[in-house]
C-alpha cells in the first residue's frame, strides 16, 4: 500500500469525516465528531495497520480538540485524526486504551491537563499532576489563569 492507496482507503469512508485534507503527499488530516472516535481509531489501527504515535489535546477556545497522530511507516506518512469535543461543560470521549494500550498514558495526561473524561478507560488515575493538585483545575485550558506561581481558576 502506498500513500495514494492509503489516502483512497481513508477517502472511502469520507462521510464519517467533516473535513479531509492532504496538504503534503505524506501528511493526511481528518476531522470528525466525538461520537466516531472509537470506531475511526479502530479503523486506523486495526484495518489500516497504522502505528499509534500520540494524541495532542488542544483548547482552541470554545471547544476542545484531541488529535490522534498515527504513522504509516512503510511510506513515512503521518495521519492525523482531529476529534472535536464540543461540550465544554462536560467533555467526554470514548477511551481507545482498551483497544490500544499505547494510548493509556496520553488519555490520562489529557484528562489531567484539559479535563476531558475518557469513558471506559481501564485505569483513569492522574498521570502528570501531583496528588495534592486541586480538583477541577486544568493547566492547559486557556481559561485557567496562572498568577504569582500558583494556579487559580
Amino acid at each position: 500500500m502506498n500513500c495514494e492507496e492509503l489516502f483512497d482507503k481513508i477517502s472511502g469512508i469520507e462521510d464519517r469525516f467533516t473535513a479531509l485534507e492532504r496538504p503534503l503527499p505524506n501528511r493526511i488530516y481528518m476531522t470528525c465528531e466525538a461520537e466516531n472516535v472509537y470506531e475511526l481509531n479502530r479503523f486506523l489501527f486495526e484495518d489500516l495497520g497504522l502505528r499509534f504515535v500520540i494524541a495532542s489535546g488542544c483548547d482552541p477556545g470554545g471547544y476542545f480538540e484531541v488529535i490522534y497522530h498515527y504513522a504509516y511507516d512503510p511510506e513515512g506518512c503521518l495521519v492525523n485524526l482531529r476529534v472535536l469535543v464540543r461540550n465544554r461543560e462536560n467533555p467526554v470521549l470514548d477511551s481507545i486504551a482498551p483497544l490500544l494500550p499505547a494510548a493509556s498514558w496520553i488519555e490520562r495526561e489529557i484528562n489531567d491537563l484539559l479535563g476531558i473524561d475518557f469513558r471506559n478507560h481501564p485505569d483513569m488515575r492522574r498521570l502528570i499532576l501531583a496528588d495534592d493538585w486541586p480538583e477541577g483545575v486544568y493547566p492547559l485550558r486557556k481559561d485557567t489563569k496562572v498568577a504569582g506561581g500558583g494556579v487559580e481558576k
Binding site: 502505528r51 504515535v53 500520540i54 497522530h69 511507516d73 503521518l78 494500550p101 499505547a102 502528570i128 493547566p139
Partner: protein, 407 residues
Amino acid sequence: MKKTINKPVLAVGPLHPLQEEMEFFQLTLDGEVVTDIDVRISYNHRGIEAISETLQFDQVPYLVSRICGICSASHPLAYVNAVEEIAGITPPDRARYVRTIIAELERIHSHLLWVGLGGHFIGYDTVFMWAWKYREPVLDLLEKITGNRNNYGNVKIGGCREDIPDELVPEILKDLDEVEKKTDMLTKAVLDDPVIHARLKGVGILTKEDGIKYAVTGPTARGSGIAIDVRRDDPYAAYGELDWNVITQPEGDVFAKAVVRLLETTEAVKIIREALNKLPGGPIAVEVRDIPPGEGVGHAEAPRGETFHYVRSDGGNRPVRHKARAPSYVNVPSCKATCIGEHIADVTLTLASVDPCYSCTERLAVVDSRGEVTHDYRRLLELSREKTDRIRSDLGGVKPLKECNIG
C-alpha cells in the same frame, strides 16, 4: 500504602538506579516472580508544552533541547521539521548535513552511555569505565562544533546555528576511527562473552505483537523485529542521501536490544563519515520571516526512538499549541508486557533495556506489604550481580565478581 495487599509489593523508585529522572515502579511479587507492575511518572513535570506557548518560534528550539540533555539534538530537529513544514521552508544543503552529523554524534554518545550503564548493572564495571571513556571524545567533538557538550542548541528554524569548520573535519574523522575501533571491540566482547549471553538472552522479552500494541519505537522496536526508523521511513536532514542500514534483531530480549544499539553505533560512525565526505558548501541557514497560520507534524529518530512534535500556528510569532512526545513515553509502558513473569533480579535490567529517559537522580527501594523497606538500591544491584556470579560459576568456576575486586 495503608491498603491491604495480599502479595508483597516491590517499589522501584521514585528514582531509578540506572536512569536520569524520577519514576516509580511498583512491582507485585509472588515469591521472587513479578506478577504485576505499575508505573508512576511526572515527579519532575516542567510544563514544557505550556512554556513553549509563551516563547517565540525561534526561541523554542533552545527550550526543547532542554527536554533531555542527551537527546538535545533530536527534540529541536523534530520541532523545526514541524515548523518548516508549516512555513514551507527548505534549509540549505549544508545545514541538512550538519544536522545529520550532530544527530549521529548524539546517537553514538547516547548508545555508549547505555552500554556502560548496562555493563555496570550486571557487574561489569570495566565495560562501564571503557564505554564512558570512549564516549568522552565524542562529547569533546560536539563541544568543538556547537560550544556545548550537551544542550547543543545547534538546530534553528531554517538551518543551523553553528557550522562545522573545514579544519575540524580531519580531526572528526580521526576521532571517528578511534570510536569505531573501540565500539567494534565492545561489540565483539559482548557477542563473545558466554556470561553476557547467559545473563541477557531470554530476559525481558517484548514480542513483536506486544511491541505493536504498545507502539514502541527505536531500538526497543527494532530489537523485537519491528523494522521502523524515521531516518529511513520519512527521511529528514540528509539521511535520504546517505547509505546506511537499519539494524534489527528478532528476539526481543535484553540481549537483542544491546546488539541493536552496539551495531547502530557503528552505523552512526559510517553515516557521519559519509556526510563529512559529501559535506556541501554554502550557507548554513536561510532567513526566516513569518510563520504562517497552520499546523505541522515533525518527527526525528532520537537514540531511544521516534521523537514527535506537533506545532500549531495562528500566524503570530508564538506557537498556539506545541505537543512534544519523547520516545520513552511509549517505550516505558511496554514494561507491562516485559516484566510480568520475570524474576526480581532481572527486572531492573529489563526496565533499563528500553533506555528510559526522564530527568536526573537515582534511588531505589523495596517495601513489603506493610510499607517497610526491605531492599534498597544497593541490595537490588547485589541481586543482579549475584545472578551474574551464579552464571559465571555455572559456566566453569570463574571467580565471583566480588573477589575480582572490580565491583
